[in-house]
Amino acid sequence: MNELRAQLQEWRAAIERRLPSWWPRALAVALIAFGLILPQLFSVTSNFVNTEILSLTYVMFALGLNIVVGFAGLLDLGYVAFFALGSYAFGWLGSGWFYKAHVHILVHAPASTIPGIHLNFVLILICAGIFTALAGAVIGVPTLRLRGDYIAIVTLAFGEIIRVFALQGPSLKIFGMPLTGGELGISGTDAPYLPGVGMFSQLNIRPWYYTIFALVLITLFVNLRVRDSRLGRAWIALREDEVAAVSMGIPLVRTKLFAYSLGAAFGGIAGAFLAAYTTLIDAGEFQFGFSIFVLSMVILGGLGSIWGVVLGALLLANINYYLIPDVFNSLPGDLGLNFNLTDLQVSIFGFLLVIVMVLRPQGLVPERRRKLELTRGLGETELEEPGTSWAGVEPGEVVQ
């Protein structure tokens, strides 16, 4: 087994050596082009494109959670809170829910003629991002002094608090109007309107696809830039050794809260988008299971690995929303068995995760650092000669 692995590693290294230096860029361009062309190959109401819209939304959720869990190492089990808050941000700012108010900013008819708060779709996404970033900082504060499992418990509780709030919303009144629709949900949300595209609708879902595609690209860009920045390094340092990190001058509170806030902002924007797309904000959606679903994507793909998380989210979302319910659902029936595959959805899911974790614990596309850690002693066993003598370097030519 070890020999086989070493052999595989050798082959991979050989392939990597032969690829020209520009290949990652070329690959990125090819993938973006593929993403742009994809919906054109299907009808404007295609179920497959619908699945891909959901999948891309989950990619955004997973990338947001990856900042918190993967980069900063803070196990967040309450990520659903930001999905909920983002959704409500959309419901509050883009529907007639607060019927006593008359606020219309950059909106098109019919939204501009209905009472309530109606903001332009892009503005709502920005507001949702800011709102959830603040909420992220609020949830971060009580976890600052905690570590590992304890953070998980506090965040889990926070997720549940938000869910219960959402459920009890109808009896919570602000200015005499209910806060949420509870299980009945907030409906009658505005359809986004963008100049040049027109009104988004379910009759042509391509504009939705391109919107979330653009949002995912922005998220990816931000993630890549932040990962390799001063802040990104500070997160990893805190994850590795908190005591050493603060002794090296990293401000603990600010750095951790940045991670929570940034992660939450992406969750909120994705949540607002999802609410706009599904046109219903129902408290029943915000289950603990959602947090676990997104966390599975992050872990399956590879904690802290941006490309791994993208792959993990696409895979799990497609299996969950397309392969199981649409493609293979009748398989057991065809084999003469008396059930649908969707009945087994969760078990299939768990089974897949267990398999992957046993065979590839570091995730599908492990982060560079973790890969180096895990392969230590396999590929790089050559003994290093120790460094030169302490005082061996002339002071004048270095440091100063």
Partner: protein, 268 residues
Amino acid sequence: MTVESPAPAEAFAPSILRAEDVTKEFGGLVAVNQVSIDIPLGSIVSIIGPNGAGKTTFFNMLTGLYKSTSGRIVFSGRDITHDRPDVITKLGVARTFQNIRLFGAMTALENVIVGRHCRMRAGLFGSIVGAPWVRNEERAVQERAAETLSYVGLRPRQFGQLSSNLSYGDQRRVEIARALASDPKLLLLDEPTAGMNPQESAALTEFMRKLRDDLELTILLIEHDMKVVMGVSERITVLDHGEKIAEGPPAEVRENERVIEAYLGKRG
């Protein structure tokens, strides 16, 4: 409890760090009891004492990791008793740890870059936008980190290795480089020669002097190796059971009755 010692010449140099009657209690246990210390600018000072004497606890209070129960710590004329560790680092105090605490999943170079954190300005938005000044800063810090690593004697081909894969001696070097990256005025070394053979210890002793002269640093170290302590320190403070039992230049401390007693036991 303090012990009077005749003031040597250096005592008249301005002090960079002064601790006054610093005490740390953990529950009922008094780990450090009213210890005062005065570190003259540009000196090399050692703290010695048997295991469990409270040396590392004292260090942790100086760097803000522990809050002292009572007493006052003044660094460069500023009261840092209640400051956070990162603030103290930014003021110019850097340290290493007794059991090396590098960021194992980061390369040697990245470790040193993290050490530079408090002197960098790049924020979230600057990094996302990729502003030219952020890139310049990043490049300058990388170059500087490489220089610092060469300065402590690491080979260039080791810069990109994960720090957890480096040999013990090299990890010590990286840890010192990481501390130096923050441009400290005062460097705290917690048992820097632990686990080193006599030759390595001698080289490190030489290096500490060089550091002080090249970078105009003040160095405070905890050390068990008496050869190193006697060879490098200008002043020595001896702790036992959390109390300061002696203080002064090496020759004097070596002859001190209470020190001999603490290390060897009471003479019959």
